[in-house]
Amino acid sequence: MAMLEVKDMEVYYGMIQAIKGISFEVNEGEVIALIGANGAGKTTILHTVTGLLSPKRGTVLFEGKDITKIPAHKIVSLGMAHVPEGRRVFAELSVYENLKMGAYTRKDKAEIDATLAMVYERFPRLEERKNQLAGTLSGGEQQMLAMGRALMSHPKIILMDEPSMGLSPILVNQIFDIIEEVSKSGTTVLLVEQNAKKALSIADRAYVLETGTIVLDGDAKALMDDDSIKKAYLGE
């Protein structure tokens, strides 16, 4: 059984159909990439999976449980964290307070502190700046904070939306190294990226999205060698 399974999802913005009946699955331990151009519907899919949007048709199953109708704020405690596009850290809160927000649904203080120590270990920069307001961090630091905040919920699966957006090449490499580490530590990853090359390089499998439809899917390494993918997304 797949950990996360999306079946025949259709999503509308008013009259406009953004997602035209897509299905995909993420198995435990995998890194899955959803790649595609701007406006293909990648963010819409993630928002629908975590309940920020509701689909017109289709179901979202998480660990076999239908979560399609579950409101967004109840999703995180099931073990699914979402790092939204554009980081969306709480600018007026300190780094530490942002991380605490990530553990909002957790009760056990000792466990939260243990996770916090783990996050600080993974992102030493966040510990250095823990009392600084999140709005004053650089773009790369904000991305780290958004990821750290998501990890604070101790998720089984983490959904990441365009983590490389607007970052310098060095930072992009750093962020992708961190995603690989997160994956190795046992968290399943669903990654949405415009940077197809980087995404395919760390993914196990990938789905290629075009205007609301999945046009291609398969093993990430195989997709990297696919001529149409090379031409359309890898710029070769």
Binding site: T50, H73, F90, E92, L93, L137
Partner: protein, 317 residues
């Protein structure tokens, strides 16, 4: 000190020493201004918190004050409750009222295509509350017996009198400001409020129940409105179904003044507004006082459109 018409106003206290009397009355007006401003600040908190979190202007907020005052009056003179118990009844009543208004009238519209829908509904709720009060209590002005048990304080050998109402009002304002700031900075629910005010979507992703947080905000704002209503009617002891309307508008001005969405801004805006109003009444013209208040608002907004503590947050990409 003369106003343009040449009238001298009567200084409180010793008239023999004109300079001394003038400075005493200046202090007395100043204290009255802070006291009135404290009421505005407490009301403005309701506006500013609701705006900060639900991004809506709750124009019915002023009328909750009036309802709160009627509940106190009915509990004291009708049910014979002691003042403090009456205040508690009023706070509970208004808290529930605030939650009901939010869930029945506003929540269905918060995601409506136009934010005007909820604004217009708020104006409708305002008239509804006024007319309900009119129906139950009639249009006559009722004299509201002050329920403040603190006696007036005579200072400077009787030259300066500070009323018990002023002392209690200022003290309430300080306690409420400190309490609310601590609640927001230290409690989990307070942090959730900050998160919701910044980004509802991201807050939901943290597991925060946005609707619950908005309801809590209305509850707190309405509870404070009840307190403000009692303080206002104890200082200015009359009550009609329209008692809340003008202070409500002025507190809204105070909130904009200080920077809407900002809690310290509500305090600063409220106090400034109260002091300007009382000084305007005392030294310029009591008829013109409201015009002066709104004139100052216009000037401040021309110079600093976001209000005194308002800020335009720059987003980082």
């Amino acid at each position: 000190m003369k106003n343009p018409s040449g009238r001298t106003y009567a200084a409180e206290g010793n008239e023999k020493y004109t300079g001394w009397g003038n400075s005493m009355s200046f202090i007395s007006y100043f204290i009255n201004g802070i006291s009135l401003g404290s009421v505005y600040a407490i009301i403005a908190l309701g506006y500013t918190m609701v705006y900060g979190i639900a991004k809506m202007l709750n124009f019915a907020h002023g009328d909750v004050i009036m309802i709160g005052a009627y509940v106190v009056m009915a509990s004291v003179s009708g049910a014979g409750l002691p003042p403090f118990a009456a205040l508690l009844v009023s706070v509970v009543f208004c808290t529930v009222l605030g939650i009901v208004i939010e869930s029945v009238a506003y929540r269905p519209l918060l995601n409506a295509a136009s934010s005007l829908a909820v604004l217009i509904t708020a104006i409708g709720v305002s008239y509804l509350l006024q007319n309900i009060a009119l129906l139950i209590f009639g249009a006559n002005t009722i004299s509201f017996a002050s329920i403040v048990p603190v006696p007036a304080l005579a200072l400077a050998g009787g030259a300066l009198t500070v009323t018990g109402e002023a002392i209690v009002t200022i003290a309430c304002c300080i306690v409420i400001m400190i309490g609310l700031t601590l609640f927001i900075r230290k409690s989990k629910a307070g942090q959730a409020m900050l998160a919701v005010s910044e980004d509802k979507g991201a807050a939901q992703l943290m597991g925060i129940n946005v609707n619950g947080t908005i309801a809590l905000t209305f509850a707190i704002g309405s509870a404070l409105a009840a307190v403000a209503g009692v303080l206002l009617c104890s200082a200015y002891p009359t009550l009609t179904p329209y008692t809340g309307a003008m202070p409500g508008i002025k507190a809204f001005v105070a909130a904009v003044f200080g920077g809407i969405g900002s809690i310290p801004g509500a305090l600063i805006g409220g106090i400034l507004l109260g002091v300007i109003e009382i000084f305007g009444k005392a030294y310029i013209s009591s008829q013109m006082a409201d015009a002066i208040v709104f004139g100052v608002l216009i000037v401040i907004l021309l110079v600093k459109p976001a209000g005194i503590l308002g800020k335009n947050i720059q987003e980082k990409v």
